[in-house]
Structure formats: C-alpha cells, structure tokens
Symmetry: C2
C-alpha cells in the first residue's frame, strides 16, 4: 500500500538552470567530424560586412575571431561546431527581409538561430554560414484576455512569454526543459513538443498564424487573430517544423489555454514496464480531461540527475518511474480523481511507492529531475540522443536491444520520455565522442525504429545530425515533394543549408 | 431565478435528417448564373468513357442524361448546379491514381466529391467536370484502442466512423450537422470545424496523417500511427483545407479523444448580446476543461427551426439563446461545476430562463434545433449564408448592419454560430434567388468583415461561391504562393477547377 505523503524537499535552492550545462572542451568542427563538403556559396567579404553594418548598426553585428562567436557556433550539447565568422542581430522583420534579399542575391548561406537549444545540430552553422540571431525580436505584441490569443515576435523566450500571459490567465500550450533559453519562434520552427502535448496537442493545432520572411526577402504575412480561418491553403504549416529551411519565422500568433487553478504532480515508482503501461492506461481512464502530463523515466536515466547533478529523488530503488500531472479548474474534484486513480494503481500492485504534491515549489523540484535528465547525461562526457516515436507495445524494447548491442562501449544506455505521446528518448553516453560507438548506433537505431513502424524524429526534428536518416520515416515521393517545395521557396538554398534535406 | 427543470420532450420522433432537406426546383446552371467561362479542358469522349469502364467497371460509372446525375451536379443547398455528364466511383487508391493519371494526360477536369454537403459550391462541378465520387472508399482500416488513433478511407461517413470508434471508447474530434452524410475525407479536405472545436481544436491538430493522390496520379503516403513525427516538412497540412485542389485525399489517420462518460447540455435564454458575451466568459471560467460547446442562436434563426420545420424549442421569447455543453469523466463533478455556473449566470441576471439535461435522447433533440438551423432557412426559398470569424466585441454587429442594408429585400436576416470559436454564421433568406439581393450582400459582407479584421471563411472554405473574395482575407503574397503551390502540384489545373483560386 502506497503511503501518500507530501513530497519532501529535494535538491537544493541552487538547482542548475538548463543553460548552465556544458561539456568540457570544444567539439571537433562539424565539417571535419562529419566530412561535409561546403556548398557552392559565396565567401563573406568586407563589403558584405559593411553592408550589414549600415543596415543594422555595428553594435548588432559580431564578427571577431571565431572564439568570440563560440556561443553561436557550438550547440548546447557540444555535439556540433560551425565556423561562422559573422553573427547578425536584426531588430525587425524589415531588416531580416533586407538581409535575406542581400544574401540571396550574393548567394551567402544563412543559419537562423533562436535560443540555440536544439538537439539535432539544427541551430548552429555546419560550415561558415552567417548566423542570423533572432534574439532582438523579443516583443510581445498583443494578448487577448477574452480569447487567450497571443501575438509576439519570434525571439521571445518561452518562459518569458509564459510568465507574461499567465498574468492574463492563460498559459503557453508548450513546456519543455529548455524554456528558460529557447525562443518561441524556434519552438514553432521545429514544431517543438515537450511535456504537455498529451493535453494541449501539437503546435500545428495551437499556432494560429505566422509571419515569415522568405529567402528572397519577401515578407509573408500569415498572422491571424482567429481560431478559424479557412480561406485557402493553410500555408503557415509549411513554416511549422521546417526548421528555418523554408523561411525565417518572425512573428507568431498562438491560441493559449486558460491557466489551471489546480495542478498536482505525482512521482511514482514501478517494478516493470508492463506496470508502466497499465498505469498509463488507467491514468487516461481515471484522470480523463485533467491529465496534463504522463512521463516515464527508467532508473538509469534518473541516476544521471541524481549522480551527476546531485539532485535528490523523492523515491528511489525502482526500475521505472512515472510523473503524472493533472491540471484542472477545481481542486477538490481534481484531488478526488487523483486519489481514486492512485488508490486503484496501488491496489492493482502496478505502483509500488510514490508521492504527490500540489505545491508549486515542490512540483518544480520534481519536474527539475525530469527536465535536466538529458543535460545531466552530457556530464558523462558525450551524449548520443535519439528521439523516437514507437508503438506502445514495443516502446521500451529498443533500450534493451541497444544496450546489448553497444555493451561496454557505452557508459549509460537508458530511456525516458513522453509515454503519453508514444515518444521515447533513447540515450547512450560515453566518456568522449567515439566514432566506433557512433557507427554501432547509426543507422542501426533508425533502421530498427523504421522496422517497428516508428518515426526517427518525434519532436526534435532532423536538423543536421539526423538529416541522413529522413528516408527511414519519409517515402521517396514525400522527400521529392519536400525538395520541390524547398526549390520553390529557396532556389539558391541559402536558408539553413545541410539541414533536413542535405 | 431560473427554474432548472428537466427538458421537456421536444419535436417528434420524425425529426428530419440533414439529408432530407431540399429547396423546390433546380437552381440555374452555375455557368449561366455566374457567367463562368469554361476552362481550356478537353471534352469527354466515348473513348474516355470506355477507358474508365475498363478500369472501374460499368456499374461504378454513371453517365446517363444530366437529370440522372442531378444528385451529383446540384449541391445540398440548391445554390449551384454543374453539368457533368460522368460520375466515377472508384473503389481504391490505385484506381483513383489511374483515373487522375489519365485525366491529367487528357486534360480532363475533375471534381472530387465526398458527401456533397459543402456550403460554398465546392463539392459539385462548376461546368462539366468529371465527378470523382469517394463513396466507395468507405473502409475503416484500424482503430488503436490504447491510443485512440483511427485510420480509415476518406469516403467513410462521419457518423459511421464516430459510431464505430465509440465502441472502442473514443469519439471523432469533430461533430457537425451534416454528419449523417458528410465524408471524413471531405471534412479533412475542407478543414471542417463544427460544434466542438472549442474543446478538441481543429483538424490540423488532430489529423495525424493522410494519403493523397496528386493530379499526375502519384500516390503520396503521409499516413502516420503517431502523434509526433518531426521528420521534415509537414506536407499533410497542404491537403487539409485545400478543398481537393491540390490532391485527392484517399486515407486519413486521426487522433481521437476518449469518449466522455458524462455529457450535459444547457439551453439558455438571454436578453442581450452583452449577456451572451458575459455568459461565454463565465462558461470558460467555471466550466474550464469540461466545456465542450458554446453556441449562440438569435431568435430569428431559431424561428426557422420552429416555424419552417415545426420543431419545438424548450424555451421561447428571448432575443438570444445559448447552447452550452459539458463533457467530462465524472458525472458528479461535472454536475457540480454546471450547477455552480448556472447559478452564477442566473444570479447575475445574464441568463433569464433555461433548461438542461444529461439524457442522450433529450440532448439530441436540443442539438437538432441547432443543427438544422441553416437547412431550415432554405425552406424560406433561397439562402445566402456567410461564415465569418469576427472579433468578439463586434461579433453580432454585422447582423444588424446587414439587416438595415437589405431591408425588405430579405425574408430573414439572422446570426448564429460557434461563439466559443468567434465564428458567426450570418444568414439572409429570400423567396427565390435574387440577383439584386446578391449584389447588396456581396462583396459588402466581405468588405465589412475585412474592415473588422475578420476572416471571410471561418470553417466553410472558399469553394466556388467565395473564391472571388480570397483577397479580403489573404495578402497578395500569400495568394501568389498559393498559385505557385497549385502550379507545382497540378500544373494542368485538372483538380477542382474554378474553386478557391479561380
């Protein structure tokens, strides 16, 4: 019988933020490690720099030695490194339009960068592309307090946007570990998923409009103040999830759900993946419309947060853990539903131990354990991370298969993820980047995923690191159509080259 | 104080179904009424018919005199009439592929037809296009009882699909008056909205995959068994809401929400539109996650169901009515929320009278009043119907403006709609089609909507009847991009010509 105690305070008040992680040293240049042939683009000249300076001002342009641009050239995971010599920080859609028009004419390649929290090498240059930072487009334009529709520029940081619209009684229908750094425009451009897709769906459903600048500088206004607009082709979806390769998203309009007065979080320990599955089914059934998150973590994953970051888990010693969150409008009703659910899963013997809380600071501490899992794993040295959609019945099998395959080559092989969305994050760590381990993992993981009928990128996108594996999830015809669309919108291929379609 | 009585039985057991309505007589040929110049397409020959016969069999081909094809050439509202001489009823994606390949080669124009319940002349030919009926592609392919993901062919009737998946504990996240006739493929192709968008969002969020056949016969497999798939461009959205002009949707995969154990429906009478707005705000606040529908009906609209169809309204005598539905997983909790809400809106004086019920047959009777509003109006003679997204603050003003403008030319000017989605259906009826009234209404209604910052088609699409008005909701650049995409996918313009982009 589970003792439902209040969660004890875990960790300490100096829990690291997402942005403060970094592996030691610099990764090898992407061009070298992955043997990339530079595209047939123009080389940056002094005249180019002069033009950009005159357009956006010298203070919004960084071009010192490559080391000074390290934060822009290297991704958050230290898995890829570009060699850009120029970062542009435009302050408006108009400036972006002028920049792209110029680059398109000159055939200068451009890498669009939001918060640089991407996990597939999509947000940093592969070679020497000019980096177009969206950081200065950070204005919230409007919040409709009746409908919950918010319009903002694309460089607004997710956490800031969420904080602001919470004041009006709404929340961004998106939450993820990188929220303190990632930009909403990056989220939209990558169709980011995260922790609450089970409740609020994906961004194709909640993004009502975008403004995007095409490669030739044309500004495409597809913004909307409405939930419903069936006037012709729904073009905005071309920019949601195309990772900046078809246009630069400069504004977004999002339909936000009302903030929930009552939120609870349970952290549960289970003895088998079968018990995890049964508990998921019962969560759907008994928590119904208030279920807002359903996460699974295996013990090897959790150990990364506990061992590498010295966070404390409220319970320990189980092979599997689940985080189950409810969000509703009536505390009493929600508690009753949650209690009924917890009683049932304990009585069935699926959940062995656990704890739950409705206190915001304590929930945040538990969430932190989950949110920092992947960054914590980078402390092992180097992290290979795979973001797969898999059928529930074979959801966890791949972890065991890969573990057996790589043996002692890896420090850690583990899985966690958004069980409620059939989305597994498979992780393999080692002391430092190993080409041998890389070749043990790829394309094996993608081939297996494809055989299981899964998707080789559930929410992280293809970026640079997965772009070779598109064929495992897309048909030849679909890839051909993608190329046609790319050619139509960016014939000179200046936007985010080497990404998605390499 | 509102007396919360159980709803009394209304209407009779012979409430007409959506399909049984029809205005007397045939409308004028669209080509004549709207002065349409036939496109530069080939004329159908005996050889063509022989080819189609050999492909799909003589029994799946209709080509008798034009009168015999009336049900295919005339829309449900009797507002448009084509002059097709051939209906093809293929039975598989492969057959559709062969048909389109042939038509593309021969430059024969094709009109794709689902349940023919469209409201903008999109589902019938404008001239003599070959009609491609999807009626035989009516197989449900799979229902995943853990995830609620259903895959089916596009010709499955919405009501049939819903009934089948309810057996597995799920519902289609879409409900509309035409459900007994409309096809799910037509719903997807038109991005149909309906009664529960406020709860389940639009189809761009819930459709996980489609299979589509392109104009050249190529089969594009974009089906998916997963909620999350970020492998490259999200091409499926090009086929959601493009009304069959970019490809023929042959299969769909949809994520379906769990069936609600507890459903309640309130029918309320209110004295002003301001009271309607306040009640909507309070419904969002007090019903929170269980609010599944929020509809507004004005008295002139309701009178159409009551007078023209002899349905009985449970309450009468108010200028405005609202239907508020809740769907949840716990009857006791839901009743408590609903009671609290009703008590509040009565105490505030916003709701004057009303009734609510949780009994399925009684809810169905109340819903029928709402669902047959527009068909009931066709009994006046001829119906001009407008489907607008408007800001809430000026949501109802347009009804009064139009009423003043058309004066005695109209029998009825009224508004109802999905208030919760900011979607107004503005309706104007007259004894028979009047060109003078038409010109009083159009483009005036669209100009005014555009001035108010609204959308000229919230959920019905552009079809043929609204295709001239695209410019009121789409920028020049967006229209140009739509043309580029159309040209890329259907260079010979054989698919649904004269629709959307005329």
């Amino acid at each position: 019988m589970l003792r439902l105690r209040n969660v004890t305070k875990i960790g300490n008040s100096l829990i690291p933020t997402f942005r403060s992680f970094s592996s030691p040293g610099l990764p090898e240049l992407t061009q070298v490690r992955h043997n990339v042939k530079r595209g047939d683009y123009a080389e940056l000249t002094g005249n180019d720099v002069t033009f950009f300076e005159s357009l956006i001002g010298a203070t919004n342009l960084l071009q010192d030695g490559p080391d000074d641009l390290q934060g822009y050239n290297v991704d958050f995971w230290h898995s890829v490194r570009g060699s850009s010599k120029l970062v542009l920080k435009p302050g408006s859609t108009g400036e972006i339009s002028e920049i792209l028009k110029y680059c398109n004419h000159r055939r200068l390649a451009v890498c669009v960068q939001g918060g640089n929290t991407g996990l597939v090498g999509g947000s940093v240059p592969v070679c020497d592309e000019i980096i177009l930072s969206m950081a200065r487009l950070n204005k919230i334009l409007s919040i409709d307090d009746i409908t919950g529709i918010v319009a903002c520029e694309s460089g607004v940081i997710l956490e800031n946007l969420d904080a602001k619209i919470r004041e009006a009684g709404y929340v961004v229908p998106l939450d993820l570990g990188a929220k303190s750094s990632c930009h909403i425009g990056g989220n939209v451009s990558t169709n980011a998923g995260g922790l609450r897709v089970i409740r609020y769906g994906n961004l194709h459903g909640s993004v009502l409009g975008v403004e995007a600048v095409l490669a030739n500088g044309q500004i495409l206004d597809l913004m909307s103040d409405f939930k419903k607009d069936n006037t012709g082709y729904h073009l905005k979806h071309l920019f949601i999830g195309s990772e900046g390769t078809l246009g630069v998203v400069t504004k977004v309009a999002i339909l936000c759900p009302a903030v929930s007065d009552s939120v609870h979080l349970a952290f549960l320990g289970l003895n088998s993946f079968e018990a995890v599955l049964q508990t998921f089914k019962n969560a759907k059934r008994y928590l119904g419309e208030i279920l807002s998150s359903c996460e699974m973590i295996d013990s090897i994953s959790l150990a990364a947060s506990v061992d590498n970051l010295k966070l404390k888990s409220p319970i320990a010693g189980y092979p599997f853990y689940m985080l189950i969150e409810t969000s509703g409008s009536n505390n009493e009703h929600d508690m009753e539903k949650l209690n009924k659910f917890l009683q049932l899963v304990m009585d069935k013997g699926d959940v062995i131990d656990g704890t739950y809380t409705g206190e915001p600071s304590k929930m945040q501490e538990i969430w932190k354990l989950r949110e920092v899992l992947a960054p914590a794993m980078t402390k092992d040295g180097y992290l290979f991370t795979y973001d797969l959609s898999l059928p529930l019945r074979s959801f966890y099998d791949i972890v065991k298969v890969v573990e057996a395959r790589v043996g002692h080559m890896a420090k850690r092989v583990c899985g966690f993820g958004h069980l409620g969305d059939l989305n597994l994050h498979l992780n393999v760590t080692c002391g430092e980047y190993s080409n041998d381990l890389y070749h043990q993992l790829e394309p094996f993981v993608f081939e297996l995923t494809s055989k299981l009928g899964g998707s080789v990128s559930a929410e992280h996108g293809m970026g640079f690191l997965k772009s070779n594996y598109l064929k495992y999830s897309k048909s030849t015809e679909a890839i051909a159509m993608m190329r046609d669309i790319k050619h139509m919108l960016d014939p000179n291929k200046i936007l985010n080259p080497y990404k998605i379609l390499n």
